[in-house]
Protein backbone atom coordinates (compact mmCIF):
# COMPACT_ATOMS: atom_id res chain seq x y z
CA UNK A 1 0.00 0.00 0.00
CA UNK A 2 1.69 3.09 -1.25
CA UNK A 3 -0.71 5.66 0.13
CA UNK A 4 -3.19 5.00 2.88
CA UNK A 5 -6.74 5.37 1.82
CA UNK A 6 -9.76 3.73 0.35
CA UNK A 7 -9.88 5.68 -2.90
CA UNK A 8 -11.04 3.68 -5.87
CA UNK A 9 -10.25 5.21 -9.22
CA UNK A 10 -13.34 5.61 -11.33
CA UNK A 11 -14.85 8.19 -13.62
CA UNK A 12 -18.35 8.84 -12.31
CA UNK A 13 -20.36 11.96 -11.48
CA UNK A 14 -20.01 11.13 -7.78
CA UNK A 15 -16.24 11.06 -8.16
CA UNK A 16 -16.35 14.49 -9.73
CA UNK A 17 -18.28 16.09 -6.90
CA UNK A 18 -16.37 18.48 -4.67
CA UNK A 19 -14.81 16.66 -1.72
CA UNK A 20 -16.29 19.13 0.71
CA UNK A 21 -19.79 18.41 -0.56
CA UNK A 22 -19.32 14.72 0.03
CA UNK A 23 -17.94 15.38 3.49
CA UNK A 24 -20.96 17.50 4.34
CA UNK A 25 -23.28 14.75 3.11
CA UNK A 26 -21.53 12.17 5.29
CA UNK A 27 -21.68 14.36 8.37
CA UNK A 28 -25.29 15.43 7.82
CA UNK A 29 -26.47 11.91 7.17
CA UNK A 30 -24.77 10.62 10.31
CA UNK A 31 -26.04 13.44 12.50
CA UNK A 32 -29.63 13.15 11.26
CA UNK A 33 -29.80 9.41 11.88
CA UNK A 34 -28.56 10.03 15.39
CA UNK A 35 -31.02 12.82 16.06
CA UNK A 36 -33.95 10.88 14.65
CA UNK A 37 -33.49 7.24 15.61
CA UNK A 38 -36.35 5.87 13.63
CA UNK A 39 -36.30 2.94 11.27
CA UNK A 40 -37.85 4.99 8.48
CA UNK A 41 -35.18 7.69 8.60
CA UNK A 42 -32.49 5.04 8.81
CA UNK A 43 -33.74 3.19 5.77
CA UNK A 44 -34.22 6.36 3.75
CA UNK A 45 -30.65 7.49 4.21
CA UNK A 46 -29.24 4.03 3.76
CA UNK A 47 -31.04 3.62 0.46
CA UNK A 48 -29.79 7.02 -0.65
CA UNK A 49 -26.20 6.25 0.32
CA UNK A 50 -26.25 2.83 -1.29
CA UNK A 51 -27.71 4.39 -4.41
CA UNK A 52 -24.88 6.93 -4.56
CA UNK A 53 -22.34 4.21 -3.98
CA UNK A 54 -23.85 2.27 -6.85
CA UNK A 55 -23.65 5.21 -9.22
CA UNK A 56 -20.04 5.54 -8.20
CA UNK A 57 -19.58 1.86 -9.03
CA UNK A 58 -17.95 1.18 -5.69
CA UNK A 59 -20.72 -0.97 -4.21
CA UNK A 60 -18.44 -3.97 -3.92
CA UNK A 61 -15.98 -1.95 -1.83
CA UNK A 62 -18.76 -0.60 0.33
CA UNK A 63 -19.92 -4.11 1.09
CA UNK A 64 -16.37 -4.98 2.13
CA UNK A 65 -16.41 -2.03 4.54
CA UNK A 66 -19.75 -3.14 5.95
CA UNK A 67 -18.44 -6.66 6.44
CA UNK A 68 -15.93 -5.25 8.91
CA UNK A 69 -18.73 -4.51 11.35
CA UNK A 70 -20.73 -7.63 10.61
CA UNK A 71 -19.78 -9.36 13.84
CA UNK A 72 -20.60 -6.25 15.85
CA UNK A 73 -23.96 -5.97 14.09
CA UNK A 74 -24.89 -9.54 14.84
CA UNK A 75 -23.91 -9.15 18.45
CA UNK A 76 -26.01 -5.99 18.68
CA UNK A 77 -29.02 -7.99 17.57
CA UNK A 78 -28.26 -10.70 20.07
CA UNK A 79 -27.65 -8.42 23.01
CA UNK A 80 -30.40 -5.91 22.37
CA UNK A 81 -32.80 -8.66 21.49
CA UNK A 82 -32.22 -10.32 24.82
CA UNK A 83 -31.32 -7.61 27.29
CA UNK A 84 -32.75 -4.29 26.17
CA UNK A 85 -34.22 -2.42 29.08
CA UNK A 86 -37.54 -1.86 27.41
CA UNK A 87 -38.06 -5.50 26.48
CA UNK A 88 -41.64 -6.58 27.01
CA UNK A 89 -43.03 -8.60 24.14
CA UNK A 90 -41.33 -11.92 23.57
CA UNK A 91 -41.06 -12.73 19.94
CA UNK A 92 -39.39 -16.14 19.83
CA UNK A 93 -37.12 -18.44 21.77
CA UNK A 94 -33.94 -20.17 20.74
CA UNK A 95 -32.00 -22.58 22.91
CA UNK A 96 -33.70 -21.36 26.09
CA UNK A 97 -32.88 -17.71 25.17
CA UNK A 98 -35.79 -15.35 24.71
CA UNK A 99 -35.71 -12.59 22.11
CA UNK A 100 -38.02 -9.63 22.51
CA UNK A 101 -39.69 -7.46 19.91
CA UNK A 102 -38.66 -4.11 21.41
CA UNK A 103 -35.01 -5.12 21.65
CA UNK A 104 -34.90 -6.43 18.10
CA UNK A 105 -36.50 -3.28 16.76
CA UNK A 106 -33.99 -1.24 18.71
CA UNK A 107 -31.22 -3.35 17.23
CA UNK A 108 -32.53 -2.62 13.75
CA UNK A 109 -32.31 1.12 14.42
CA UNK A 110 -28.79 0.82 15.83
CA UNK A 111 -27.50 -1.31 13.01
CA UNK A 112 -29.13 0.94 10.43
CA UNK A 113 -27.39 3.88 12.07
CA UNK A 114 -24.06 2.07 11.93
CA UNK A 115 -24.51 1.02 8.32
CA UNK A 116 -25.59 4.50 7.42
CA UNK A 117 -22.51 6.08 8.92
CA UNK A 118 -20.29 3.68 7.04
CA UNK A 119 -22.14 4.07 3.74
CA UNK A 120 -22.24 7.84 3.87
CA UNK A 121 -18.58 8.11 4.76
CA UNK A 122 -17.95 5.39 2.24
CA UNK A 123 -19.06 7.70 -0.53
CA UNK A 124 -16.54 10.24 0.64
CA UNK A 125 -13.69 7.82 1.18
CA UNK A 126 -14.17 5.60 -1.84
CA UNK A 127 -14.62 8.35 -4.39
CA UNK A 128 -12.26 11.05 -3.19
CA UNK A 129 -8.50 11.18 -3.39
CA UNK A 130 -7.22 12.01 0.09
CA UNK A 131 -4.96 14.73 -1.28
CA UNK A 132 -7.92 16.35 -3.04
CA UNK A 133 -9.98 16.27 0.13
CA UNK A 134 -7.18 17.89 2.08
CA UNK A 135 -6.61 20.48 -0.63
CA UNK A 136 -10.28 21.39 -0.65
CA UNK A 137 -10.40 21.75 3.11
CA UNK A 138 -7.24 23.85 3.25
CA UNK A 139 -8.63 26.09 0.54
CA UNK A 140 -11.76 26.56 2.62
CA UNK A 141 -9.82 27.60 5.66
CA UNK A 142 -8.35 24.51 7.27
CA UNK A 143 -4.91 25.35 8.61
CA UNK A 144 -2.25 24.30 6.08
CA UNK A 145 -0.34 22.79 8.99
CA UNK A 146 -3.22 20.44 9.69
CA UNK A 147 -3.42 19.72 5.99
CA UNK A 148 0.29 18.92 5.97
CA UNK A 149 -0.01 16.55 8.92
CA UNK A 150 -2.89 14.59 7.41
CA UNK A 151 -1.30 14.44 3.96
CA UNK A 152 2.05 13.30 5.27
CA UNK A 153 0.57 10.70 7.62
CA UNK A 154 -1.03 8.99 4.65
CA UNK A 155 2.37 8.47 3.03
CA UNK A 156 4.69 8.20 5.97
CA UNK A 157 2.74 5.44 7.66
CA UNK A 158 3.07 2.97 4.76
CA UNK A 159 6.75 3.91 4.59
CA UNK A 160 7.19 3.12 8.26
CA UNK A 161 5.34 -0.17 7.87
CA UNK A 162 7.74 -1.31 5.15
CA UNK A 163 10.60 -0.27 7.42
CA UNK A 164 8.92 -2.33 10.13
CA UNK A 165 8.98 -5.37 7.85
CA UNK A 166 12.67 -4.80 7.14
CA UNK A 167 13.39 -4.57 10.85
CA UNK A 168 11.67 -7.89 11.43
CA UNK A 169 13.86 -9.49 8.75
CA UNK A 170 17.00 -7.89 10.10
CA UNK A 171 16.37 -8.88 13.69
CA UNK A 172 15.32 -12.39 12.68
CA UNK A 173 18.59 -12.89 10.86
CA UNK A 174 20.31 -11.88 14.09
CA UNK A 175 18.54 -14.65 15.91
CA UNK A 176 15.46 -12.91 17.24
CA UNK A 177 12.92 -15.47 18.39
CA UNK A 178 9.40 -14.65 17.40
CA UNK A 179 7.75 -17.68 18.97
CA UNK A 180 7.49 -19.08 22.45
CA UNK A 181 6.15 -17.83 25.72
CA UNK A 182 4.34 -14.54 26.06
CA UNK A 183 7.35 -13.21 27.93
CA UNK A 184 9.69 -14.13 25.08
CA UNK A 185 7.44 -12.64 22.44
CA UNK A 186 6.99 -9.48 24.43
CA UNK A 187 10.76 -9.06 24.65
CA UNK A 188 10.88 -9.57 20.91
CA UNK A 189 8.35 -6.78 20.59
CA UNK A 190 10.68 -4.44 22.44
CA UNK A 191 13.57 -5.47 20.21
CA UNK A 192 11.52 -4.51 17.18
CA UNK A 193 9.78 -1.35 18.25
CA UNK A 194 12.90 0.19 19.81
CA UNK A 195 14.94 0.50 16.60
CA UNK A 196 11.86 1.57 14.68
CA UNK A 197 11.15 4.44 17.03
CA UNK A 198 14.74 5.62 17.12
CA UNK A 199 15.11 5.45 13.36
CA UNK A 200 11.88 7.25 12.64
CA UNK A 201 12.54 10.00 15.19
CA UNK A 202 15.95 10.65 13.69
CA UNK A 203 14.39 10.78 10.25
CA UNK A 204 11.72 13.08 11.58
CA UNK A 205 14.35 15.51 12.78
CA UNK A 206 15.97 15.52 9.35
CA UNK A 207 12.63 16.04 7.70
CA UNK A 208 11.98 19.01 9.96
CA UNK A 209 15.28 20.49 8.82
CA UNK A 210 14.44 19.86 5.18
CA UNK A 211 11.03 21.51 5.61
CA UNK A 212 12.52 24.56 7.26
CA UNK A 213 14.95 24.91 4.40
CA UNK A 214 12.02 24.92 2.01
CA UNK A 215 10.13 27.74 3.59
CA UNK A 216 7.67 25.76 5.65
CA UNK A 217 7.53 28.39 8.37
CA UNK A 218 7.07 31.30 6.00
CA UNK A 219 4.42 33.73 7.06
CA UNK A 220 3.57 34.86 3.56
CA UNK A 221 0.19 33.99 2.13
CA UNK A 222 0.62 30.63 0.46
CA UNK A 223 -0.18 29.89 -3.19
CA UNK A 224 -2.41 26.99 -4.13
CA UNK A 225 -0.93 25.20 -7.05
CA UNK A 226 -3.95 23.16 -7.99
CA UNK A 227 -7.18 24.51 -9.29
CA UNK A 228 -10.33 23.01 -7.77
CA UNK A 229 -11.46 21.48 -11.03
CA UNK A 230 -8.16 19.83 -11.90
CA UNK A 231 -7.14 16.44 -10.68
CA UNK A 232 -4.11 16.35 -12.94
CA UNK A 233 -2.40 19.50 -14.16
Amino acid sequence: MRVLGLYVERDTPVHKLAPFTKLMYAVTSTVVTFLFPSITVGILFLVLSVFLNTIARVLKHLIALLMVVSVLSISIFLIQGMFYVGNYTPLFSLLRLTFYKEGLLRAVVLVLRLFNMISAFGILMLTTRPSDLIDDLVRRGLSPNVGYVIASVLQIVPQMLSTATRIIDAQRSRGLEMNGSFHKRFKAFLALIGPLVLGSLLEARERALALEIRGFEARTKRTFLKDFSESKR
Binding site: V69, M160, L190
Partner: protein, 189 residues
Protein backbone atom coordinates in the same frame (compact mmCIF):
# COMPACT_ATOMS: atom_id res chain seq x y z
CA UNK B 1 -4.42 25.98 15.20
CA UNK B 2 -2.12 28.95 14.96
CA UNK B 3 0.86 28.49 12.74
CA UNK B 4 3.20 30.02 15.26
CA UNK B 5 2.18 27.70 18.04
CA UNK B 6 3.74 24.56 16.68
CA UNK B 7 7.32 24.17 15.63
CA UNK B 8 8.13 22.32 12.44
CA UNK B 9 9.65 19.56 14.56
CA UNK B 10 6.34 18.99 16.30
CA UNK B 11 4.38 18.96 13.04
CA UNK B 12 6.71 16.28 11.75
CA UNK B 13 6.47 14.36 15.03
CA UNK B 14 2.73 13.82 14.79
CA UNK B 15 2.74 11.70 11.60
CA UNK B 16 5.65 9.70 13.01
CA UNK B 17 3.69 9.13 16.23
CA UNK B 18 0.79 7.80 14.17
CA UNK B 19 3.26 5.61 12.29
CA UNK B 20 4.61 4.25 15.56
CA UNK B 21 1.04 3.43 16.60
CA UNK B 22 0.55 1.50 13.37
CA UNK B 23 3.92 -0.21 13.74
CA UNK B 24 3.10 -1.29 17.29
CA UNK B 25 -0.09 -2.93 16.08
CA UNK B 26 1.84 -4.47 13.18
CA UNK B 27 4.52 -5.99 15.41
CA UNK B 28 1.94 -7.19 17.92
CA UNK B 29 0.12 -9.01 15.15
CA UNK B 30 3.33 -10.45 13.74
CA UNK B 31 4.22 -11.78 17.17
CA UNK B 32 0.66 -12.96 17.76
CA UNK B 33 0.43 -11.04 20.99
CA UNK B 34 -3.11 -10.79 22.39
CA UNK B 35 -2.80 -7.02 22.57
CA UNK B 36 -3.33 -3.99 20.36
CA UNK B 37 -0.25 -2.02 21.45
CA UNK B 38 -1.41 0.71 19.11
CA UNK B 39 -1.04 3.75 21.40
CA UNK B 40 2.69 3.70 21.94
CA UNK B 41 3.24 6.53 19.48
CA UNK B 42 0.60 8.71 21.12
CA UNK B 43 2.18 8.20 24.53
CA UNK B 44 5.69 8.86 23.24
CA UNK B 45 4.57 12.03 21.48
CA UNK B 46 3.02 13.20 24.74
CA UNK B 47 6.24 12.50 26.62
CA UNK B 48 8.36 14.22 23.99
CA UNK B 49 6.31 17.29 23.25
CA UNK B 50 3.66 17.63 25.90
CA UNK B 51 -0.01 16.78 26.46
CA UNK B 52 -1.42 18.88 23.63
CA UNK B 53 0.81 17.28 21.01
CA UNK B 54 0.05 13.86 22.51
CA UNK B 55 -3.64 14.60 22.27
CA UNK B 56 -3.29 15.73 18.66
CA UNK B 57 -1.31 12.62 17.75
CA UNK B 58 -4.07 10.51 19.24
CA UNK B 59 -6.78 12.45 17.44
CA UNK B 60 -5.03 12.28 14.07
CA UNK B 61 -4.42 8.59 14.60
CA UNK B 62 -8.11 7.86 14.85
CA UNK B 63 -8.99 10.29 12.09
CA UNK B 64 -6.64 8.42 9.81
CA UNK B 65 -8.12 5.08 10.88
CA UNK B 66 -11.46 6.59 10.04
CA UNK B 67 -10.29 7.76 6.62
CA UNK B 68 -8.69 4.47 5.74
CA UNK B 69 -10.64 1.70 7.45
CA UNK B 70 -14.10 3.04 8.04
CA UNK B 71 -15.58 5.44 10.58
CA UNK B 72 -15.78 2.95 13.45
CA UNK B 73 -12.50 4.00 15.02
CA UNK B 74 -13.25 7.64 14.42
CA UNK B 75 -15.58 7.59 17.37
CA UNK B 76 -12.76 6.67 19.71
CA UNK B 77 -10.67 9.67 18.76
CA UNK B 78 -11.72 11.12 22.09
CA UNK B 79 -10.16 8.18 23.90
CA UNK B 80 -6.86 8.68 22.10
CA UNK B 81 -6.98 12.36 22.96
CA UNK B 82 -7.46 11.38 26.59
CA UNK B 83 -4.48 9.05 26.47
CA UNK B 84 -2.32 11.79 24.99
CA UNK B 85 -3.43 14.40 27.49
CA UNK B 86 -2.99 12.20 30.53
CA UNK B 87 0.34 10.79 29.41
CA UNK B 88 1.64 14.29 28.76
CA UNK B 89 0.27 15.63 32.00
CA UNK B 90 1.74 12.78 34.01
CA UNK B 91 5.11 13.20 32.33
CA UNK B 92 5.10 16.91 33.11
CA UNK B 93 4.31 16.06 36.72
CA UNK B 94 7.38 13.85 36.80
CA UNK B 95 5.29 10.71 37.00
CA UNK B 96 7.68 8.83 34.72
CA UNK B 97 10.84 9.33 36.71
CA UNK B 98 11.16 5.74 37.83
CA UNK B 99 9.60 2.32 37.35
CA UNK B 100 7.28 2.58 40.33
CA UNK B 101 5.78 5.86 39.20
CA UNK B 102 5.53 4.56 35.68
CA UNK B 103 3.48 1.59 36.87
CA UNK B 104 1.15 3.97 38.62
CA UNK B 105 0.95 6.16 35.52
CA UNK B 106 0.19 3.10 33.43
CA UNK B 107 -2.76 2.25 35.61
CA UNK B 108 -4.01 5.82 35.55
CA UNK B 109 -3.81 6.05 31.78
CA UNK B 110 -5.55 2.69 31.35
CA UNK B 111 -8.36 3.89 33.58
CA UNK B 112 -8.64 7.20 31.73
CA UNK B 113 -8.88 5.37 28.41
CA UNK B 114 -11.54 3.08 29.79
CA UNK B 115 -13.48 5.90 31.38
CA UNK B 116 -13.65 7.88 28.14
CA UNK B 117 -14.53 4.90 25.98
CA UNK B 118 -17.46 3.77 28.10
CA UNK B 119 -19.73 6.76 27.39
CA UNK B 120 -18.80 6.46 23.71
CA UNK B 121 -19.71 2.79 23.77
CA UNK B 122 -23.03 3.54 25.38
CA UNK B 123 -23.98 6.40 23.08
CA UNK B 124 -23.00 4.75 19.83
CA UNK B 125 -23.57 1.04 20.25
CA UNK B 126 -25.46 0.73 23.50
CA UNK B 127 -22.43 -0.21 25.57
CA UNK B 128 -20.66 -2.75 23.41
CA UNK B 129 -17.08 -2.49 22.26
CA UNK B 130 -17.01 -4.75 19.22
CA UNK B 131 -14.47 -6.98 20.89
CA UNK B 132 -15.57 -10.59 21.16
CA UNK B 133 -14.32 -11.31 24.67
CA UNK B 134 -15.43 -8.01 26.08
CA UNK B 135 -18.85 -8.21 24.50
CA UNK B 136 -19.33 -11.76 25.76
CA UNK B 137 -18.71 -10.54 29.28
CA UNK B 138 -21.04 -7.63 28.53
CA UNK B 139 -23.79 -9.98 27.44
CA UNK B 140 -23.27 -12.09 30.54
CA UNK B 141 -23.44 -9.10 32.87
CA UNK B 142 -26.52 -7.73 31.13
CA UNK B 143 -28.20 -11.10 31.43
CA UNK B 144 -27.75 -10.78 35.17
CA UNK B 145 -29.48 -7.44 35.08
CA UNK B 146 -26.34 -5.36 35.56
CA UNK B 147 -26.63 -1.74 34.49
CA UNK B 148 -25.49 -0.94 30.95
CA UNK B 149 -22.82 1.50 32.10
CA UNK B 150 -21.24 -0.90 34.54
CA UNK B 151 -21.40 -3.75 32.08
CA UNK B 152 -19.79 -1.56 29.43
CA UNK B 153 -17.10 -0.52 31.88
CA UNK B 154 -16.05 -4.11 32.46
CA UNK B 155 -16.32 -4.89 28.76
CA UNK B 156 -13.95 -2.02 28.07
CA UNK B 157 -11.64 -2.89 30.93
CA UNK B 158 -11.00 -6.33 29.47
CA UNK B 159 -10.10 -4.75 26.17
CA UNK B 160 -8.04 -1.90 27.54
CA UNK B 161 -6.46 -2.50 30.91
CA UNK B 162 -3.51 -4.74 30.14
CA UNK B 163 -3.08 -3.30 26.69
CA UNK B 164 -2.79 0.32 27.75
CA UNK B 165 -0.74 -0.51 30.82
CA UNK B 166 1.84 -2.41 28.79
CA UNK B 167 1.82 0.31 26.13
CA UNK B 168 2.80 2.83 28.78
CA UNK B 169 5.58 0.58 30.06
CA UNK B 170 6.94 0.06 26.56
CA UNK B 171 6.82 3.79 25.82
CA UNK B 172 8.68 4.46 29.04
CA UNK B 173 11.39 1.92 28.19
CA UNK B 174 11.88 3.42 24.74
CA UNK B 175 11.86 7.00 25.97
CA UNK B 176 14.58 6.19 28.48
CA UNK B 177 16.81 4.87 25.74
CA UNK B 178 16.56 7.87 23.42
CA UNK B 179 19.54 10.25 23.15
CA UNK B 180 18.97 13.48 25.04
CA UNK B 181 19.64 15.72 22.05
CA UNK B 182 16.94 13.92 20.10
CA UNK B 183 14.41 14.38 22.90
CA UNK B 184 15.37 18.02 23.09
CA UNK B 185 14.49 18.57 19.44
CA UNK B 186 10.84 17.95 20.04
CA UNK B 187 10.38 19.66 23.35
CA UNK B 188 8.01 22.57 23.25
CA UNK B 189 9.56 25.62 24.76
Amino acid sequence: MLRGKFTTAVLVLIPVAVGINYAGKFFAEALKLPLWLDSIGTILAAMLAGPVVGALSGAFNNIIYGLTAGPFSLVYALTSVGIGLSAGGLHRSKMFENMLRTILSGLIIALVATAISVPLNVVFWQGQTGNIWGDTLFAFLRSKGINVWIASFFDELIVDLIDKFLSVVVAFAIFRSLPKTLIYTFQRE
